[in-house]
Assembly symmetry: C2
Homo-oligomer: 340 residues x 2
Amino acid sequence: MAGGISLKELAAELKLAPSTVSRALNDSYEISDATKKKVISMAEKLNYHANPFARSLRENKSKTIAVIIPERINSFFAQVMDGIEDIAQEQGYHLLVYNTHEDVEKEKKIVNLLLNGRADAIVMSVSSQTSDISHLKKLHDRGLPIIFFDRICNDIPTTKFITNDYEIAFDATKHLIQQGCKKIAFLMLSKDLSITKERQRGYLDALKDEGMEMNPAFDFYCSHVEETNVQLIHEMLTSPSKPDGILASVEKLGFATYHAIKNTKIRIPEDLKLISFSNASIAGILSPSMTTITQPALTIGHECAKLLIKKLNKPKHYDLVDQVVTIPSVITVRESTFSE
Amino acid sequence: MAGGISLKELAAELKLAPSTVSRALNDSYEISDATKKKVISMAEKLNYHANPFARSLRENKSKTIAVIIPERINSFFAQVMDGIEDIAQEQGYHLLVYNTHEDVEKEKKIVNLLLNGRADAIVMSVSSQTSDISHLKKLHDRGLPIIFFDRICNDIPTTKFITNDYEIAFDATKHLIQQGCKKIAFLMLSKDLSITKERQRGYLDALKDEGMEMNPAFDFYCSHVEETNVQLIHEMLTSPSKPDGILASVEKLGFATYHAIKNTKIRIPEDLKLISFSNASIAGILSPSMTTITQPALTIGHECAKLLIKKLNKPKHYDLVDQVVTIPSVITVRESTFSE
DNA sequence: TTGTATGCGTTATCAA
DNA sequence: TTGATAACGCATACAA
């Protein structure tokens, strides 16, 4: 829209050839300092700004990274986004952001939109509905650099950044047991999610390690509808075979548990101990405050962006090798898991 | 990057002229149905995707909207973003997202980045540090459509979407008074912010309306550093002239108040009643739950995007007239303002 | 209904 | 050190 002045016009004003002006602005070694100075000052005076689309067309790159997340109202994803943006801004990259709302159909649409090269690369965390990954394969096969974080696709050979899901879930479960829990439930989203699998494995191994029985009723699948989850958790917590400990594999299920015990006689931590993955600072102002597994969200964002931009700047020198990079989480013990 | 097939190549494959193929794909009336069908099916078969930069260069528009917000970890802004994205996605627009982190220098940099036409339009909420608005004026003068929401710039003649800041702050203050508060403090960010001014005006008028004195110490300015705010609020709440009611003009100051009373003897709502602007669903699981002023965030996002896209699609027919559109908030009364 | 030619604003190749 | 020219991929004015 807002048509500024073009390179050609700027060149005319300077009585120079467009190519000369272009080189001067790009600080080419072929151009004399005198000319560079003149060009730059005139460009500023006339408020010249290179047209990014002409440049993208010419150079076949957009200086744009697409970020796809499953939800926006989530402290973890918001922090990762902030981390990605830190690096991107510093390196002159722009961020195209898409929210799939946990909907795989929406995810497919978005991914297909990116097939045209609008973004140079993609950072994403898949939706909880994503099991068929052909749309993502297609993207990768097309040669578009793609990095996964948190909810990853193991079948796509690229670099993934996660936290130590297995270990920290193991530790969290052990923590609940140490605090006296005998019957621990595991709250999760879809079973297809990488984080579900790993965190559940950690949970189950901790139980096994302690010689505790695994009650299938305590493998608790939730939906992405908030009200339903609250309802289901409420039912579980008021049933005869109710758990005395909960490990919530994602933030919103931790919060849903607080919702579920509202207007009940269940007290945390006396009747029920709770630990949840969450990066929300408000975990500390809940009453009782909530013990959380805090993920290195900002760092994950930073690392994703750094690696991707390295790759984009020097495609020959860097590769998105097929590996999973693990950055450890930290358990912040608060009142919801106090033993007394 | 990932070089797909071009229009020319597609045309060659079809033994048609590029212009014909272009017109067929754009569903031009000049092209026969038979040709259209052939072209479309071949395009699908060969996985053709129009290069967005060539198109943007040619058409002088990018199908991209830039959104600038002051913080990402904020339920209001996150919901507005979701609202904008709903409409944008539906209308084939992409979202470039920038977080200023309440830093006006960062805001200036971002705004200057957008001077080159990378985005067709801008939706923004200014940082709390923004008082000099020359960078925004420049953008507007350049003819770039820009819309403000929530934290608006009155001096820039365009459409702004806000909630009924004055009235709802007035009502909220009245609510506190009705619940028995005698000394009400008003928590705010920078005094330059449009929302600060309006909400404070509502607060003050409510006090005046009730014949209550206005204690300047209760006009409480906060920083954007979380810890400092908690500290300052704590000091206020433990000083001899402490308030018995608080109206927090933004979410994080409401939360900061909960933080500040942790480990004190102050009880909400018995000793202190609190109402805060906030769209966070977790307001309901705080203990006591927090009375909130819920802004129509999703609707604000929708309206911003709708108006902007209307303008972009038919620049002649729509104008971003200089007016403030108000969409009312709702007070959700919870335990933090119970009278007993 | 389809084809030919041009230009959007850059950068790069080649020539001067 | 600078200038002329072509090309990126697309959409349109004009020609057929």
